[in-house]
């Protein structure tokens, strides 16, 4: 058990969760007090000493599922010809682990054995899925997940994959959207029928499905479908563990922490997670910066105030007064490329900069693809930057010719229209991958800006290794920038913005 725990802790560290030695010791101590057969309890209590941040919890959960997965013959990956055996074993296994409803599980096992010569037909499976979702019976949902993976997963032993593909295949075949529609339809009919019953009794209240009720139903079914999805995911994972062992799998399935997700290549789900962690991040950053300001050293002696306060002590300056240092609040000018792949990165940066705009004397933002447009107005009077960022995408006028990045043209136009307004207090941030589609670079603009502004930084969301490859000309711009920073994750972004203010 201790070996297992050590391996587990190693995996957590590899996933980026900081686990100190004393926390490891606490976890080991935990195992002495918590009954080992209670898997849920182990999960939560181990988590209490190993994970100290709620954003790390999903990564922890994944690792836990892998290292402390349920093992047994039922989870072996069955080949096509052994389909039936797989089903049988699955059925009886259900009895053994008896998770929630042993009685139900037993019946189910028999049902499967009788029903499947070749496993279940798609129709039967669809029917069963539908019933499971309608009744919200968790053991039934589990059984469906198991069957679906058997049927559609097409899992092959020994392949070094993370299981995302299997998940995708299973879900595509189940076609959950259609099931959802069917469920709602059914509910509508049911109330319709109730309505007719009520019609016989004229005093009875009229029952219809109001929009509110429909909405609630929909959410209810959505929750059940999410549960099913999770079941399928863990089912696949369990089989993979049985096939390849914990350590090998952990490596391929490891999820990055939200702050370490590569913004440019984030999946849709990851983007949602990113967006969620952005709000607390910017709040924390603002608090930290404000605190830094307040605790800064005192300024020079304020002679007037000292004399004024000395009057109360008979003209003896007992209590010297100091001027508060004027916080050097830089003026920020953000010029962001919002074409294609770098768009999400630009959005996050704009969001973050504006969320802490109280820390700057002024923030102006410009976005471009091949045309350039000022978007500061979208942030004015809006208390939620996310909303403004959304409006930028729909309303900003950034296309000049063809909607492919043209840094040269965008920069030139910027210089002509707004170049005058750059002053020695402004810091200019340029965001983009500098992939210019072989247009003219317009790097002379950067040089001019550099001459006027206090600082010029370039944030590049691409890994450093890709710089200056293909049509990337970040090196040419770098000649005129104070610094070019690789900024791929929220963590890097936060650090940069923190140092800026």
């Amino acid at each position: 058990m201790l070996d297992l725990l050590t391996g587990f802790v190693g995996e957590l560290r590899a996933a980026g969760i900081p686990v100190s030695l004393s926390e490891h010791l606490d976890a080991a101590e935990t195992l002495r007090h918590v009954p080992l057969e209670d898997r849920e309890a182990i999960k939560y209590t181990l988590g209490a000493s190993l994970v100290k941040s709620s954003t790390h919890w999903p990564a922890y959960e994944t690792a836990f599922e892998i290292y402390f997965s349920l093992r047994g013959p039922g989870y072996a990956i069955a080949g096509d010809d052994e389909d039936e055996d797989g089903d049988e074993a699955g059925g009886s296994e259900k009895d053994d682990d008896g998770s929630s409803l042993p009685g139900k599980g037993g019946r189910k096992g028999k049902g499967q054995g009788g029903g499947g010569g070749e496993g279940m037909t798609p129709e039967e499976l669809a029917d069963m899925l539908y019933k499971a979702l309608l009744s919200a019976n968790s053991s039934m949902i589990q059984a469906v997940a198991r069957q679906a993976v058997n049927r559609y997963g097409g899992m092959e032993a020994g392949r070094p994959v993370g299981g995302t593909y299997y998940l995708y295949r299973t879900l595509r075949n189940l076609d959950l959207d259609k099931v959802m529609d069917r469920l709602v339809e059914q509910a509508r009919k049911a109330t319709g029928a109730a309505n007719e019953d009520a019609a016989h009794d004229p005093a009875g209240p009229e029952v219809t499905l109001t929009p509110l009720e429909e909405r609630l139903l929909r959410d209810e079914y959505q929750a059940r479908i999410d549960q099913l999805r999770k079941e399928i995911e863990s089912e696949i994972r369990r089989r993979l563990v049985a096939d390849r062992g914990s350590e090998a799998l952990a490596k391929s399935i490891r999820k990055p922490l939200p702050e370490d997700i590569d913004v440019m290549h984030a999946t849709k789900d990851e983007l949602v997670a990113l967006r969620k962690s952005l709000a607390p991040l910017s709040r924390k950053l603002a608090v930290r910066l404000a605190r830094k300001r307040r605790h800064g050293r005192k300024g020079p002696l304020d002679f007037r105030a000292t004399v004024r306060s000395s009057l109360s002590t008979g003209g003896v300056p007992v209590d010297p007064k100091f001027r508060y240092p004027r916080p050097s609040k830089p003026e920020i000018i953000v010029i962001a490329d919002i074409s294609g792949s770098v768009a999400s990165f630009a959005r996050f940066t704009l969001h973050l900069v504006h969320a802490i705009s109280s820390q700057f004397s002024k923030v102006r933002s410009f976005v471009f693809i091949d045309g350039i447009d000022e978007v500061t107005r979208f942030f004015d009077g809006v208390d939620d930057p996310a909303e403004a960022v959304h409006r930028i995408n729909t309303e900003a006028d950034v296309v000049w010719v063809d909607g492919h990045s043209d840094y040269g043209h965008a920069l030139t136009v910027f210089w002509e229209r707004w170049g005058e307004e750059i002053n020695p207090r402004s810091s200019v941030l340029l965001l983009g991958d500098a992939r210019n589609n072989y247009h003219a670079s317009g790097s002379w603009v950067i040089k001019e800006i550099r001459a006027r502004a206090r600082h010029v930084y370039w944030l590049n969301p691409e890994p450093r290794a890709y710089w200056d490859s293909g049509d990337s000309i970040v090196g040419e711009y770098a000649n005129y920038c104070d610094e070019v920073v690789e900024c791929r994750t929220l963590r890097q972004l936060e650090r940069f913005v923190g140092e800026l203010a």
């Binding site: 918590v34 209590t45 509110l212 924390k284 608090v287």
Partner: protein, 316 residues
């Protein structure tokens, strides 16, 4: 007098390091099993899930403080109160705020009394006098020291610990890991019993590693549908099951929207109480819209939610 003052305020730097004998005796465990925690808490109207009861049980067994984090209004403070009620211990509460210092959190010398003592009797030699005025008689205990000194079982609640400055956090470290307080003039005060300690945080800033390392971590999120329904039923007297179910489901739907501030459990309870008082049996869209301001505290959120609930947008 001034010299006393500087000595007393210099406490945290001049920590005496004769602390090797370590831990105070751990009392008998308060709870038998995780299930005992859960049923016990349910007995005092606090419905704990697996995570909560597991961590509370562990906190008792390992004698470690619990750091509770989560959105506002999910029952973090309530957990500490309920555990105190369950174990029949005294609840000592330290509300944190910016500017909290050790004279408010740990202890303070009673200068006025010391001064009186010095003036009242000048026959003594200075050494005797010094021993005398730095005795427990002249010590004003503050919540942390009080929790340590109490002979009876105590639950110590350090509320909203994220509000104090990073530097002030260090005050807590000694008490959290060793259950003792070092007072330079007196020596080390060790706990007579190990208090159950809960720290709550709204996560407005990152707490220091040192603090986190000493605690068990518990994140309380919005409850699942079933649990929320059960919470409503236990906490709102006179609510019908159907209404509780409906309330829980509507709240879940609202939380799934992208809002500035999702409705918390306490706001849900307020809403349920309001509906009971209004004599509502079953909520329709109109009533929901009229009472939404209890659930949501931002104009834009209310607009958004009422629009969604009225079904103008069923795509989501």
């Amino acid at each position: 007098m001034t010299s006393n003052q500087t000595e007393a305020t210099g406490v945290s730097t001049g920590r005496t390091e004769e602390i090797t004998s370590g831990f105070p005796e751990a009392g008998p465990p308060r709870f038998d099993s995780i299930d005992a925690v859960r049923t016990g808490l349910a007995g005092v109207d606090y419905l704990a899930d697996d995570g909560i009861s597991g961590v509370v049980y562990l906190a008792d067994r390992l004698a470690k403080p619990v750091l509770v984090e989560g959105p506002a209004g999910t029952g973090k403070t309530e957990l500490a109160k309920s555990v105190a009620r369950l174990t029949g211990s005294r609840l000592i509460r330290l509300q944190c705020y910016e500017g909290l210092d050790e004279s408010k959190a740990l202890y303070e010398w009673n200068y006025k009394k010391q001064l009186l003592r010095i003036q009242a009797d000048s026959g003594q030699s200075w050494d005797e006098l010094e021993d005398d005025i730095f005795s427990e008689e002249f010590l004003l205990t503050r919540p942390l020291l009080e929790a340590i000194k109490s002979p009876d079982p105590v639950v110590l609640l350090i509320d909203e610990v994220d509000r104090v400055e990073l530097e002030t956090e260090a005050l807590l470290l000694e008490i959290l890991s060793e259950y003792q307080v070092s007072i330079p003039e007196l020596g080390t005060v060790r706990a007579k019993q190990i208090p159950l300690v809960f720290l709550t945080s709204n996560n407005t800033r990152e707490l220091s590693e040192a603090l986190k390392r000493r605690c068990l971590y518990l994140h309380i999120d919005y409850p699942q549908l079933e649990r929320e329904r059960a919470i409503i039923e236990t906490r709102v007297p006179g609510i019908s099951q159907a209404l509780a179910d409906q309330v829980a489901r509507i709240v879940r739907s609202i939380r799934s929207l992208d809002l500035k501030k999702a409705p918390s459990v306490s706001e849900t309870l307020d809403w349920a109480r309001t509906l009971v008082v209004l004599g509502v049996e079953s909520i329709d869209a109109e009533q929901a819209k009229d009472t939404l301001h209890i659930l949501l505290k931002y104009r834009s959120d209310i607009d958004r939610a009422s629009k969604e609930l009225a079904g103008l947008d069923t795509s989501g």
